[in-house]
Assembly symmetry: C2
Homo-oligomer: 203 residues x 2
């Protein structure tokens, strides 16, 4: 034990930065999806070899979840900002613009990590899909609550259905994600967002 009680790094020190490696892993998962990413893809992008990855992150699934946490912290921050907006319309506008920015931020447009993996393929990814759907359900509930408040505050007409409104907005966000991963240009997506916004009910 160290006399000073300091964190003593015994044994050979790690030769890579875990945060940087996680960021690299996120990039790969983001462009290829969970199942489409192999351990070779990951270790190559992370610049480490397999046992190091297992020691640092557990396994492929845990690595993905940690990458997903990072993704939500960094790339989905606009959702938090959106919910703080004063009107329902501004909530929607902030989310739509955030989704477009997020989808077209990289070299070539690619869909939201969540949306991509919520429809993943094999039985291998069942747990991943469950995790993502749970997080999505939570976000939906928050949006519904926000739109119910908007009705009370009068910036959403009384005839609208908050559940339906949320489902439509989420559908637009999912559409942005899918069309981006299908190769839509930034202009295409901006027209989608703009038109969707022009259809938003006014109080």
């Amino acid at each position: 034990m160290n006399k000073l009680g300091s964190i003593c790094a015994r044994g050979r020190p790690r030769e890579f930065c875990t945060e940087q490696a996680l960021a690299r892993a996120l990039e790969v998962f983001w462009s290829k999806g969970y199942e489409g990413t192999s351990l070779n893809d990951l270790t190559e992008a992370m610049g480490i070899n397999r046992p190091s990855m297992y020691a640092a992150f557990g396994n492929k699934e845990e690595l993905f979840k940690k990458a997903l946490d990072l993704y939500e912290r960094e790339k989905m921050a606009y959702i938090g900002k959106a919910l703080e907006q004063p009107t329902a319309r501004l909530v929607a506008e902030t989310m739509l613009r955030g989704a477009v920015d997020n989808a077209t931020g990289g070299e070539q447009p690619h869909g939201c990590l969540r949306v991509i993996n919520s429809v993943a393929c094999g039985a291998e990814a069942e747990s991943i899909r469950g995790e993502i759907n749970a997080r999505g359900k939570l976000a939906k509930a928050v949006l519904i609550e926000r739109f119910e408040r908007a009705k009370l505050e009068g910036d959403l007409p009384s005839h609208v259905d908050p559940h339906g409104m949320t489902a439509v907005l989420v559908a637009m966000l999912q559409g942005i994600s899918i069309q981006a991963s299908q190769g839509a240009s930034r202009e295409d997506l901006e027209r989608l967002a703009q038109t969707g916004l022009s259809m938003w009910p006014s109080a």
Copy 2:
């Protein structure tokens, strides 16, 4: 050669119905996606063994494309009906309702075969994704043309952007598909469609 020139089935006759087998394969692809479906899944569902499948359909990829043809012929017929509707609003309504019906037709709701596989994972499915995106692009072009006509005919306001309108409608259809595959109920999806329709611009 047969004297009568009739189709003479030489050799051992096939013991299964190809159309029925293809329909079974479609069911599996529809619920598991292209990459999520293994040859074991397929042959088990089709009730035949591997070499029979290869002899009858070529390989997994060709089998999928034939299943996709069948899917579009049977399950996406509503798109043709939609385009024939007299107004843009009715086009949208027919498509939205058709998508909801299609997604909730089976035992449990599952997304559109196209949407599911347009975001498929690995490099294995690159060709599949290309095929699907090409077909989707075509459908989008037809919709844009339809909405341009609607503007000329005056049942869509002059300020709307047909490209944007199409992208929004397609996003709603994709959203229906994704939310269905995430386990949304029929009621959820109907509220999505209803609310989306209530936002449709009136002439």
